[in-house]
Amino acid sequence: MEMNDPLRREEKKEPTPDRKEGGPSAPDVKRPGRDDILKRMKKVDPKQSEKYKQRTGQ
């Protein structure tokens, strides 16, 4: 499986082409702000977890 590592890349200030690091990567992590998601969270039913009844599983 071909892999790259976005988290590692984000932390590296300088590229290190001589060092081959294994493992997966993901796109560069960005933090554009949370306004949209916080607005959505406000719309969540406060009783949702109370209504969420499950049976015991394994």
Partner: protein
């Protein structure tokens, strides 16, 4: 060199609810969900007669399990329903080698056997895609988004359902050795493997309020047990290798369902690595916890990783110190595995995560589920002037795990690039249809793809065809063994 731990797998039970009904019937809903699965599959042909759930690793057989009682009750109710047991279980085996069925009223996706951690994470994510597709199709049928599924482990009212990680390990080493060396690691791996939970259930004499590391920790009652629905253990003792008697299948039921693929990879990767060290007899842990069961809860309720755990010697140790010791041993013993790329990734990220936890825990908020929740919920509480005891926090916690792409909070963070994705989308899409190419799952998946009308019954360990032929997969563990079968007997199994 053969790996000490040659195969890996994850089983995930999903939570399920109809939001338009006051009394949602999980049996009915789970069955209808499975009925809407459009993935190519062998349906209702699981070979239950090949299950061996009552044999204990400690060398005895139990006569009854709590799950038997539940199954009996299930069957009793079954008689009142217009469905057969087989219809309600709705087993499907897919072309990627996975099993998708109803287990104790929860839709369960069991990945195919994988050889690498990264393949396993891709298949775990493929499970989310497959289950999510079924939800979408079922909701189209219902005419609205009434059915919701959650990749989590609790209903916040004392009912838990599992995410089990499985490792094939050699039988030659005594089971007690595995237990002794592994328990301190398992008690503390929730530092990065915990999915986070708002509040506490069952064992909450101290009135805990806030975010704990793991969803499952409140439900761990023993060190060793064959049970999975009561007296849940740190290490499950069911002796059912789904392979030859040269192996055991270590069946761990104390873990959480991770939304973060990075956390899944670190959980399974570190566990495999520690098992490799134990199997190679390279470590002897200095930690003998005085009360490991209580410590599971103690560790979970301290997000700093510095709570003091008592050893039998009378000394104390912190969860971070235990994890750092295991990492140190791994760094001393490189070269024990064929999976060098994986070993390097795991040791590197394990070290980075433990270091961040100790030095800058806020840095974990891009990849570790409990820390992602902590960051997100803190922002919400600050914006709304709320505290952890507000009921909406548990609802938000639940919504983090929602498989609905329009609602799931983890999916929202992922889509806006706020958390690490780890596995490329094309790898996940591939895993939806295609089995791992280097395990016996490849043979199972190809049989489903090309011979499904000829399959009489199917199991992890083999396939029985309608003409009486039986293809035994139980001895195909290594990549070479799988390749040998694929390259021989072509006349007998031309479809391979």
């Amino acid at each position: 060199m053969n790996d000490v731990v040659p195969l890996l797998g994850i089983e995930t039970e999903y939570g399920i609810i109809r939001e338009d009904q006051a009394d949602s019937d999980p049996v009915e809903e789970s069955m209808r969900l499975l009925a809407r699965c459009e993935a190519k599959s062998v349906f209702k042909a699981w070979a239950y007669n090949r299950e061996r759930t009552h044999q204990d690793m400690r060398g005895f057989q139990v006569s009854r399990l709590a799950q038997d009682e539940e199954e009996d009750e299930f069957c009793e109710e079954d008689r009142k329903r217009p469905y057969s047991y087989w219809e309600m279980k709705s087993d499907r085996v897919l072309t990627n080698g996975a099993r998708f069925y109803n287990d104790h009223t929860h839709p369960e996706y069991s990945t195919p056997e994988c050889r690498t951690v990264f393949d396993l994470v891709a298949h775990d994510l493929a499970g989310e895609v497959i289950v999510g597709d079924c939800v979408r199709i079922r909701n189209q049928e219902l005419g609205g988004d009434y059915l919701q599924l959650f990749k989590n482990n609790t209903d916040y009212s004392g009912h838990s359902y599992g995410t089990h990680d499985n490792y094939l390990i050699p039988r030659k080493l005594p089971f007690d050795t595995w237990v002794q060396q592994l328990v301190p690691f398992l008690v503390t791996r929730q530092l990065y493997a915990g999915a986070g939970k708002v509040g506490a259930e069952r064992k909450n004499e101290d009135g805990f309020v806030g975010l704990q590391l793991a969803q499952r920790s409140d439900f761990i009652d023993s060190v060793l047990s064959i049970e999975t629905m009561t007296e849940r253990p740190i290490i499950n003792t069911r002796d059912e290798p789904h392979a030859s008697q040269d192996y055991r299948r270590l069946h761990l039921i104390l873990g959480d369902a991770n939304m973060s693929p990075y956390a899944t990879a670190l959980k399974v990767g570190t566990t495999r690595l520690v098992l490799t060290l134990i199997g190679a007899q390279k470590i002897e842990t200095p930690f003998e916890l005085a009360d490991p069961v209580a410590d599971v809860q103690r560790v979970s309720r301290d997000t700093t990783g510095t709570v003091l755990l008592k050893l039998k010697s009378g000394k104390t140790v912190t969860p971070l110190e235990i994890q750092e010791w295991y990492l140190e041993q791994a760094l001393k013993h490189t070269g024990l595995s064929d999976q060098t790329e994986e070993w390097d990734w795991v040791t590197r990220e394990w070290g980075r995560t433990l270091n961040d936890h100790r030095q800058n825990p806020e840095k974990l908020a891009d990849r570790i589920d409990w820390a992602i929740k902590q960051s997100l919920f803190n922002d919400f509480m600050e914006a709304e002037g709320l505290k952890w005891d507000n009921p909406i926090l548990q609802s938000l916690d639940l919504e983090y795990h929602n498989l609905n792409p329009e609602r799931g909070l983890y999916y929202s963070l992922r889509n806006q690039g706020d958390v690490a994705g780890l596995i490329e989308q094309n790898k996940i899409d591939d895993a939806v249809h295609r089995p791992p190419q280097d395990t016996r799952a490849r043979i199972r998946g190809q049989a489903v793809d090309q011979q499904r009308d000829r399959i009489k019954n199917i199991h992890w360990t083999g396939i029985e065809f309608t003409n009486g032929e039986y293809l035994d997969l139980s001895g195909l563990i290594t990549k070479e063994e799988v390749g040998q079968v694929l390259n021989s007997n072509k006349e007998q199994f031309a479809w391979k």
